[in-house]
């Protein structure tokens, strides 16, 4: 990626100890062990709460409970190993139809809602970035939809969209928003965009605020209009922030569950997502296929995330920025190394004296 990011103020100046590369070669064996020890609690906790459930879900997805009844009408309680049969069933027959439908719905909702949210979020951020009276009030109020729990906003929108609700009143229409059909998809998209556009808006706003004013000044002097400034300065410079925001929203939208569940209701095929399908299967005590659905969803989310990071270069952890920064500053640091070392020693001494 060739875009130069505006480094956060203070990153270039006044970092006494440059991170990483300078010392990488000279790590002592004890240090490595120390690092391992320090990380081990984190790794253990992650293993317990992420790796174990994941493996357990994969394991479960290879089994299927036989739902036969014996002569007395009791459930014969056998769970047999079926290999990949649960996965094969995802593409054939009735369960295959439901899976592909849910897969299509999930993808459709993710693409449409994230696109609309991004556009709307950008507009919100542009509006909030201007200096005007009541700006802080606007910023706070824009957060309200984001702060409302999804289930509650689902209920609110359900009232709005019921057959004699506000939506039909305002439009003068008689659309059955909560019945099966395209109207229910539109209802979900509207409610979802309402709820999450502020998230993108605020993240992008944060990105906009670190763009130095001089850049715009220079652009104005060069005679660039508002649109030109937007296209050549604002958008390229907020791109890293925007990409991260969009990635987060996509991962969130892919596991959408509560909004369609509350707003339209479970079991409605027009809005059934993969998460809802997995929930429904586990509710029917078919844990094997429920796990298979969940594992597929996990893989889908993982692929999307990887593609996003690799192809579009979303800088999620800030690693790239750090690398860029350290390259630039490496030489400077080497030159200044002795100086800063001396400086810190002095300041350490001072601190020690102060504590004494």
């Amino acid at each position: 990626m060739t875009t130069t990011t505006a480094p956060p103020a203070g990153a270039q100046t006044g970092t006494p100890h440059a991170p990483g590369p300078r010392r990488r070669g000279k790590r002592s064996p004890g240090e490595g062990r120390m690092a391992a020890m320090l990380l081990s609690p984190t790794i253990l906790v992650l293993a317990l709460v992420i790796v174990y459930p994941l493996l357990s879900a994969v394991h479960q997805s290879l089994f299927r409970a036989e739902s036969g009844l014996d002569a007395d009408g009791f459930v014969s309680d056998v769970e047999s190993f079926v290999g990949l049969a649960n996965y094969a069933d995802l593409f054939v027959g009735e369960s295959g139809r439901r899976f592909l439908n849910a897969f299509a719905n999930t993808t459709f909702f993710t693409v449409t809602t994230v696109f609309l949210e991004t556009v709307l979020g950008l507009c919100l951020a542009l509006a909030m970035n201007r200096a005007f009276r009541g700006r802080s009030f606007l910023r706070a109020s824009i957060l309200v939809p984001w702060a409302v729990p999804t289930a509650v906003s689902g209920l609110l929108w359900r009232w709005i969209f019921q057959s004699d609700g506000i939506a039909n009143n305002l439009l003068g229409s008689e659309i059955l928003w909560t019945a099966e059909g395209n109207a229910s998809r539109v209802a979900v998209i509207i409610a979802e965009v309402w709820k999450t556009a502020p998230f993108i808006g605020l993240l992008v706003l944060a990105g906009m605020q670190v763009i130095p004013g001089e850049v715009y000044e220079a652009a104005r002097i060069d005679g660039a209009g508002w649109w030109r400034q937007l296209g050549s300065i604002t958008l390229p410079l907020v791109k890293p922030t925007l990409l991260v925001a969009v990635l987060f929203r996509m991962l969130d939208a892919l596991r959408m569950f509560d909004l369609p569940f509350v707003l339209i209701g479970p079991g409605k095929e027009s809005v059934e997502t993969l998460s809802m399908l997995a929930w429904d299967e586990s509710n029917q005590l078919r844990y094997g296929s429920a796990s298979a659905f969940a594992v597929m969803l996990f893989l889908y989310v993982a692929v999307v995330a990887i593609v996003f990071v690799k192809v579009l270069g979303a800088d999620v952890t800030g690693a790239k920025e750090l690398k860029l920064l350290s390259k630039k500053t490496a030489r400077k640091n080497r030159l200044a190394a002795s100086q800063t070392q001396a400086n810190t020693e002095v300041s350490d001494q001072k601190k020690a004296e102060a504590t004494r």
């Binding site: 020890m37 320090l38 081990s40 609690p41 253990l44 906790v45 293993a47 317990l48 174990y52 357990s56 739902s67 009844l69 007395d72 009408g73 009791f74 459930v75 309680d77 769970e79 009735e94 019921q162 057959s163 004699d164 008689e174 059955l176 928003w177 909560t178 019945a179 099966e180 209701g265 079991g267 409605k268 429904d280 509710n283 029917q284 005590l285």
Partner: protein, 439 residues
């Protein structure tokens, strides 16, 4: 240096304890899997006395708590604790099943929805009750039927519910119709006359509950039963590919097609129907008894107060067949204090206690005699009509995989009434799905 060593020690200790925790947790998982594979021992005898837990949905009236307090006062050594489950029936079922699957002894006496009876009994998550446990001869037959699995009583009927047919008596009178309709055809004729009246402008004829929900299963089952069919026969085999089932489903399909139902009735649950009826938009409505109070509210919230009455739901040749709601109490095989549990169930579901609870709760008792008590009827005027409805009622399909069954019914019935499928195809597909689920 010492500082550093201490950090090391702390870290070591933390890691070690975390490892122990991890091992312990995986160990737990292992035992659970082992337990699953061992055959379940059926405990036939009711032994063991001591404190037990009663797991139930919420009882806002406080009537159930009163019964429990009375029991606890008389049995200080065998105290009963009320464990309240979430309001959503799905979540209640999930919690009950999860506890049964890990054989937890926390839940002793379970309050089960009538439609869960077969599933819990077939999985041996509840115990068959002794024949003399409850006075079944005094109870409404349908409630006992609903608590029975393969000829053995597995639950003690607690309260019940049936459909009522609400109608606008003022409009019937204005149109000169003497008696409320008993059949769908009579209802259609009555509607034609009533909707021609100037005061009925903009009204629709009838609604039930048609959103894709458990309520649709109820309305579909009622339509099929009212036309003389069944969804699942006595042997548990699906029978929705019959002419009767087709006639039943067609009642609903044609209702939408002919404009007998308001077009937005496809999104109606109990509440939306109540609002429409209460605002004077409907002549007839199928709904549950609990609406009676809000429809007869005198504070101005109901426009139909004093202008409506109730009767049994219509059928094709005579009065229709209501499905049965309600709950029964069952005993978990995993509780150590089964003798106490059985005694408590007998006490809780006795006629005496049912009568006492009527003072607080509007839930309909399962004892037929209580419906005719003049003091009760004065307070709950819909009781005699409800009893007629209940005497004629049928349980919803009694199948082990009820969750998947009701979903298949909703799916196909919804497709038929929205016109996505024709009646024949919908019923053929429903039959195929139900056959798969009940084999």
């Amino acid at each position: 240096m010492r500082q550093r060593r201490r950090t090391w020690q702390t870290l070591l200790a933390t890691t070690a304890s975390l490892t122990v925790a991890a091992v312990a947790l995986t160990g737990c998982g292992g035992t659970a899997t082992d337990a699953k594979s061992t055959p379940k021992a059926a405990a036939a005898s009711f032994e063991g006395k001591g404190p037990i837990n009663y797991v139930s949905n919420r009882d806002a009236s406080g009537a159930a708590n009163k019964t429990i307090e009375e029991w606890n006062a008389a049995h200080p050594e065998e105290k009963v604790t009320f464990i309240e489950l979430p309001d959503s029936a799905d979540q209640q079922r999930q919690q009950l099943i999860q506890n049964a699957q890990i054989k937890s002894d926390t839940f002793s006496v379970l309050n089960l929805d009538v439609v869960w009876t077969s599933e819990f009994a077939a999985n041996k998550w509840i115990l068959p009750l002794p024949a003399d446990a409850v006075p079944t001869d005094k109870m409404i037959p349908a409630t006992v039927n609903a608590a029975t699995y393969r000829d053995s009583l597995v639950g003690a009927p607690y309260y019940t519910d049936g459909a009522l047919f609400y109608f606008r008596s003022d409009l019937l009178q204005a149109a000169g119709i003497a008696a409320p309709p008993k059949t769908w055809d009579e209802m259609k004729t009555a509607c034609k006359a009533i909707l021609a009246l100037p005061e009925a402008a903009g009204m629709s004829c009838y609604t039930g509950q048609f959103d894709k929900n458990e309520a649709l299963t109820v309305n579909f089952s009622e339509a099929v039963a009212s036309a003389g069919g069944t969804v699942v026969d006595a042997d548990g085999k699906p029978t929705v590919n019959t002419p009767e089932a087709k006639e039943g489903l067609n009642l609903l399909v044609d209702g939408f097609k002919d404009g007998l139902f308001p077009s937005d009735a496809i999104t109606y649950l109990e509440e939306q129907g109540r609002r429409a009826f209460q605002d004077g938009k409907l002549v007839f409505m199928r709904n549950w008894p609990f609406l009676h109070a809000s429809l007869s509210a005198t504070d101005g919230s109901s426009k139909v107060n004093g202008k409506f009455n109730i009767t049994s739901i219509p059928g094709t040749d005579g009065p229709g067949v209501s499905t049965l709601g309600g709950r029964s109490l069952a005993i978990s095989p995993f509780t150590p204090n089964k003798a106490t549990a059985l005694e408590f169930v007998k006490f809780f579901t006795s006629e005496e206690q049912a009568q006492k609870r009527l003072a607080l709760s509007s839930r309909a008792p399962v004892y037929a005699s209580l419906f005719e008590d003049p003091a009760v009827v004065a307070k709950r005027p819909f009781f005699p009509t409800l009893l007629t409805s209940l005497n004629n009622a049928q349980p919803r399909p009694k199948v082990v995989q009820y969750g998947a069954t009701t979903k298949a019914i909703q799916e196909e019935a919804y497709a038929a009434i929205t016109g996505a499928k024709d009646t024949d195809t919908a019923l053929k597909d429903m039959q195929a799905k139900l056959t798969e689920l009940t084999k």
